[in-house]
Symmetry: D3
Subunit: 236 residues, 6 copies
């Protein structure tokens, strides 16, 4: 089966990193096709970046579907454009934010999300409320490590993230951690071992959820919330 | 004071109708500046139209702010792009959907929203949940009258809308009605008289809420949920 | 248009201060008529004061309506007697507590309420839940400054209030503050400037919301939750 | 032990009926002292009657406490003045509305409340939300039988109430019924037998809950929500 | 009337202590019949102990009903097996956890539960959510005093419990405390006096609630959630 | 990888049917080991059957883990014993009820659950609330087809189930259906085609979710809600 994973931003190094992370975990027989939204911003930090990314993201997803992808992953922890994507595609679609949270709730009663900057916290909180996952979420915490710092100074970044994980466990009672950024994927094994609790990576979770949904023949419902857009007549 | 009202879609006749509705109700001393998103779709029906409208809408709102507007109205009942708009603007911003619902909750314990097509119902429901208005909402009902039909066959459209209002009152216990489309504004007086309950128009509500917020000196908080985007360095 | 603002307690200096605050912000063409509940307690601190104030408050509001007021403000942050007032009046009615919270939620994703004494905290919390505003509220905090101390030692009072505002911002993540007492109105500009976030005054918010509701022709629904009382026959 | 039961309205026949119902169910050793609020309205139907009843009700409850009552029942299904009563009394206090709902939730997963007029429905719904009992409540239904009609034409009244009970069971899935009016107490045994589910009377429930609370030494907490009013200095 | 109180675990000393606590508070005319689940674990700490206790507990409850008990108490703060018990018995049934919380909510707006080990906290939290009591609960705190330590070193145990009570009051705003273990019953009077707030014991609360429910003739509804099991045909 | 699927009841034909359904959908390289709880009831209909099944179910799961299973499925739509199972096992565990609902929420905004008998409805509703899935659930409906009737008269059973699916779509606005019984798995393709919406089978969903969780290395958190039971000393 072919699965598309779309980076809604235009930074090539991140697209490659995400593609590798997805391929590492994909099942035999799954072909991961990575796409990049060349019309998107360099990174997605907050509502405005997200909004600007969506039109290009939807175009990219249509290309992916035309290329034969049967399921789709939006590789941004904000789940940018998820409702729109579900409205135009017939295959199942997930964002890596929702994916990480859904997997965490299989192995823990309460999880915390550890993300990069505080500007993303309200967006992630709103997404969790909408998905019904807020009651299972102990907290959404920002490590204040910007996405690119993960590459520039991984040691300092790792220290700050570990401190945030510790706060989630000690203060908020987190029983599992969802790492809220594609760039943190490499840390999950180390952190899980150090703190003795599940540390969940969103990209890996999304690959497995979409592989599963496609395998059992699920397609996005076209009745109600994700109905196809009506054709336009006239206007701009 | 100058208030901008932005039509997120590109249909000129709607922009004009909205501008007139806003001017009719504006206080002496309020200048209503109407803008149109020429890069938007012809109408906004569902998630995809909404997503495609936002980049142009945000650009238009920046122009309006540069033109001296101190407060802003997004003239789409879906409150398209509201979070993004609040993140880039310093004046207060409201969408006509949230505005109508907030006004209705001042004069009734439970209101219903009567909108055009069922594709908008889930979007309006999600917006009400996010704004904390869901507990005051008896139901969101579609009249299945498309936006343009309001102009083409106003009599038939009016009949269907009246039937939906009746259902909201009789079946769902609505004590007030919010008309969920800018094009329905003319009906509010007639329907209110016929059914003896408040029938609220979103455009008029938005004008009054923004006039009020500007008059008392409120500006959108730049701390937390609506923080300004960080400047980008590098990328696309 | 004529708007009544009713002080539910019997302290003349507060009635005057409230009237001035309302007049300062009222639009040209709005006549603010201030009333005082001479049968009420000297101040309203807690459930019992509130309950004792209501019969006189409702009588006063009937007088205000007979005097030609088209909209009404209950000038107590506890929104004392609001449901009863909405049940006997046809014009729109708001309390300054609900008004401040509704305005704050237009310009911030999460606000905190800073009030006088802790005895009011549970009442304000219950009101926010009932109005659907609890999800937008980060916290309700008491500064432990009694109403009258605001006049007696304004400097000390101001210091304590500022500390409470700081706690709301730092600890609870408040993005805006609602000042929970009519007597704090003068502090809003100073605090807003010092902390760089919106600081909302309930009296000003209420004036603007009622001006707006009257301007667009809204009257309190007489169907359901705020139906007029049935006439009594017999009994005491 | 001595328990006061206070009728917040001024209709003597209801006070007597309530007193008898309470005495019939009281344990040996419990002395039921019935009081009547002579300053209250003839009956309590809606917010305004409730508000007008409270000052006299609180005065009456203070008399009851001075007379040695160790626990208190407010004999109105709206739980009129309950928060205020808990703030001035040291013994435990309950309203018959909350009492009936709490007892029903011991013997059924979902109950419906069947009350007299629709004007009471929103009040009862708000009370259930505040008490955390809304999730256990299938519906609050009005039989449209006014209080006094229960005495005037008991047969017709009984028929309408039975129909409403049936609707609660069939349509709303009620597993138990709470009878929402002191005057309906006599019907509970008959209805329970006919429909094969628990039919709960609020007066009896309140007597047992207060007997129990007093027996185990509970007094109303004076910390937080039900703190004693601070003494007033000055004012009216 | 005869009421059964069933210890779901097999530790005789606890059964006796519970029986004595129940008898001390029972009304004249109430016969408390204590039962022990000889097939249960030595104590119930967490989900697994709870699950293993239920089959024997249900058998024991059937014996109690056959012996003539008209109401039933499950003497474990986790309310082990409560749904199953309500499904097989016709008399009313309560667990001491739900009982304590219901009584506390009559005398305080917010209570905290102070229990033994942290392994029970999630179970108690889930039970409170299910019963609609979560909104009245300020916190569920573990004192980390194991059940048996209450007997072995009562002084040290008492100190730790008092510290936890203090934290509930100071940090979480608790207005009343529910003691979350049958073995803590003796502490309630001392703690209540020291901290000046109600301290509620679950066993005493349960006795009074069941006495009350039986006295007013309530039986568990057999419609819906607690329907009797259908007879089996075939299988193992 | 080896995954255990445990039938909590003792009916061999169901164990075999479940095993086949699981194997049909399992990935290459996944070994499905089916187990049967020989000490369980013949079927699980309601709270009591569920409670009686758990001790044997937990024993069976321990055997499965000792046999080398890395992930586990509880093959009952009531998710019988799920909390207990997560507390004793280190591999991830899911019930087929939670699994179906989680998969449905990836492809629809609102789903309905169609189950066998009404005795299961409250249990499924409670499970959905606890898992945070209630807000995505339009309704839980019973087809009143007992488990065994699915084999005895498949045509009549199929007709009743189709009618219930139709009611979920038309009346409740379901956009996807979760089939609430392992025995209904064969119907999912037919129903999905007839009604044009996703129809989700719990067994298939569970296999894919557990395969995914094991593949990415997740194990059940042993901190907090699913901590291992403490070793017992003394007692029975």
């Amino acid at each position: 089966m072919r699965i598309s994973i779309v980076n809604p931003n235009s930074t090539r190094s991140m697209t490659e990193m995400i593609a590798q992370a997805a391929r590492r975990i994909a099942a035999l027989g799954t072909e991961i096709c990575a796409y990049q939204n060349d019309d998107g911003p360099a990174s997605i930090e907050g509502h405005v970046d997200g909004a600007l990314a969506v039109p290009g993201l939807l175009r990219t997803l249509r290309v992916a579907e035309a290329d034969g992808a049967e399921g789709h992953i939006i590789a941004c922890f904000d789940d940018t454009g998820l409702d729109g994507a579900r409205s135009i595609l017939t295959g199942p679609v997930i964002g890596i934010g929702e994916a990480g949270a859904r997997m965490a709730s299989l192995v823990a009663r309460r999880f915390s999300v550890v993300t990069t900057l505080s500007v993303s916290v309200p967006i992630l909180e709103d997404n969790l409320v909408k998905a019904g996952l807020a009651t299972s979420c102990a907290s959404v915490l920002a490590s204040e490590v910007p996405v690119l710092a993960l590459e520039d100074d991984p040691e300092a970044a790792g220290r700050k993230i570990a401190e945030t994980v510790e706060r989630a466990i000690e203060r908020d009672g987190a029983e599992a951690i969802v790492l809220g950024c594609a760039g943190m994927a490499d840390l999950s094994a180390t952190l899980s071992e150090r703190y003795g609790i599940p540390v969940v990576d969103g990209v890996a979770s999304a690959v497995k959820l979409i592989e599963g949904a496609v395998a059992i023949g699920l397609r996005t419902s076209k009745r109600g919330g994700y109905a196809l857009p009506r054709p336009k007549t006239g206007g701009a």
